[in-house]
């Protein structure tokens, strides 16, 4: 299991890096899916089976599919759009953000490793326990989450409508 953790971590990191650097959005989405699956494996190795399953079902199986769906709807996968993507990604653009991210990562490293305590993680927590405490302690949170989902639903419905009233030029798409 320990080995699985490290392998999955490596895969997740690699895949995530690939997500950020891909030109073709579909490839990026696929790498993102791989990354999420790897994180799901990490969850599994940490004993969070329920979270692992949810990660795949909801994240990989639904949320990312939405990305694919949108890419297909807008039909931006094929070469013209990847060329455009290359234009947007000049080498110079990488410098600042990378520096910032490296600094952040360095800070995380420092905080986590300088803490000095290395405790073992990972003991099995089954779905039932999660469910029970979710509907007892975090009941209000669940209600709020449902409100967020409803808001997202309404918002997405409104924004996704074909003809928003203030639409200037039409097009069939």
């Amino acid at each position: 299991m320990t080995i699985a953790f490290y392998v999955a971590s490596a895969v997740a990191l690699f895949a995530t890096l690939m997500v950020v650097t891909r030109r073709n959005p579909v490839h990026a989405v696929l790498y993102l899916m791989v990354s999420l699956l790897a994180v799901a494996v990490v969850f599994f190795t940490l004993g969070a089976h329920f979270a692992a399953a949810l990660e795949v079902i909801i994240y990989a199986g639904a949320i990312i599919v939405l990305f694919v769906f949108m890419i297909m709807l807008l039909n931006i996968g094929p070469p013209p759009s990847t060329r455009q993507e290359s234009l947007l990604l000049t080498p110079g653009i990488w410098v600042g953000p990378s520096a910032l991210s490296v600094l952040l990562a360095g800070l995380f490293l420092y905080v986590i490793l300088a803490g000095g305590r290395s405790v073992q993680a990972g003991s099995y927590v089954d779905a039932k326990t999660v469910g029970i405490s979710m509907f007892e302690i975090y009941f209000l949170g669940v209600e709020l989450a449902s409100m967020i989902l409803l808001a997202g639903l309404v918002g997405a419905y409104h924004l996704g409508k074909r003809d928003l009233p203030d639409e200037a030029e039409g097009g069939n798409g």
């Binding site: 073709n24 579909v26 490839h27 696929l30 899916m33 799901a40 089976h49 329920f50 692992a52 399953a53 949810l54 795949v56 079902i57 990989a60 199986g61 639904a62 599919v65 939405l66 694919v68 769906f69 890419i71 297909m72 709807l73 039909n75 996968g77 094929p78 089954d126 779905a127 039932k128």
Partner: protein
């Protein structure tokens, strides 16, 4: 060591068995369709036309494996693999008989749902990678359809989870042995799951992603040779998987009269026999559906999923929970 060997044996059994069920199903489907449509079907090659499947397989292997130059090559190849991998992986949690499963996972049902939700990538990516407008439309249809039907598939299964109190498939079977097959108390849930299952495998009447009248062959228009074969087989594996789950979740799995046999390999075989028999019935049901239904319009399909099935599955969940609370 022995345990590992046993697991390996089961894995081999599952892979080989399932992979061989698929061609058998092709033959069975053609014969049954012919029967129900009052014609012969394949009956020339071999006994009852059984070798026709073999011939088809050989033909498929030897066709030119052509990748269109305008396609996105990596994704084009990846797509058919995904459907087989996910479907076969999902078999890992199916208990064919007591102890006969690849893994006895505590969140087995969720694992199945996870795998089935990943299956959508196959169709969608195939449609996109082909870089062909019919394929793209097919892929779009598939992703929208599967997103919609996946939601209430999961919800419809929750009734079973509520009654048995576990995600573990083997335990669900045992729970049914102790009480009653869930096809009785969870009849609505079963119907919902069955419909969702058909949609997930995009079999008729939910085969709009590959509706040949509108989209040539939908998402796999550009596929040939064994890549097409993998889609073809993947579909049958999917059917088998759904049938197995129907058996496990609603019809008591391996439960059945044991004819006085009470221990050892023989018992397991009898139990597996029951399992296989029940699964076979559902396989035939799938074929019967194909023979008897016409194809709905796409918007009807989506509206049906979101506006009828989803509320029904929620109602099912609510009533089940309420009833369980009342009986406690």
């Amino acid at each position: 060591m022995n345990e590992t060997l046993g697991t390996l044996l089961i894995i081999a059994f599952v892979i080989l068995g399932v992979l061989h069920v698929a061609p058998g199903l092709i033959w069975l489907e053609r014969r049954l369709l012919a029967l129900w449509q009052d014609r012969y079907g394949p009956n020339r090659v071999g006994p009852f036309g059984l070798f026709q499947v073999l011939a088809d397989a050989i033909k498929m292997f030897f066709k030119e494996d052509w990748i269109p130059p305008f396609a996105d090559k990596a994704t084009f190849i990846l797509a058919p693999c995904i459907i087989n991998v996910t479907a076969l992986t999902a078999f890992a949690v199916i208990p064919f008989a007591p102890g006969w499963s690849v893994v006895d996972m505590s969140v087995g049902l969720l694992f199945f749902l996870a795998m089935s939700s990943l299956g959508v990538y196959s169709v969608t990516l195939a449609g996109w990678a082909s870089n062909n407008k019919y394929s793209l439309l097919g892929g779009l249809r598939a992703s929208a359809q599967m997103l919609g039907y996946e939601v209430f598939m999961g919800l419809s299964l929750m009734g079973v989870v509520l009654m048995s109190g576990t995600f573990n498939l083997a335990k669900i079977v045992e729970a049914q042995q102790n009480t009653i097959w869930y096809c009785v108390p969870q009849f609505l849930g079963m119907m919902l799951f069955l419909i969702a299952g058909i949609a997930e495998t995009h079999r008729l009447p939910f085969d709009l992603p590959e509706a040949e009248a509108e989209l040539i062959a939908g998402f796999h228009s550009e596929y040939s040779s064994m890549k097409f074969g993998m889609f073809f087989i993947g579909e049958y594996i999917g059917i088998t998987l759904i049938s197995c789950l129907m058996t496990v979740l609603y019809f008591g799995g391996w439960d059945g009269p044991t004819f006085g046999i009470s221990e050892g390999l023989a018992l397991k075989l009898v139990q597996f026999g029951w399992f296989a028999a029940k699964t076979f019935v559902f396989l035939c049901l799938f074929i019967l559906l194909r023979a008897s239904f016409c194809r709905p319009r796409y918007d009807q399909l989506i509206a049906f999923g979101w506006k009828i099935m989803l509320p029904l599955s929620l109602a099912n969940l609510l009533i089940t929970g309420a009833a369980l609370l009342a009986l406690e």
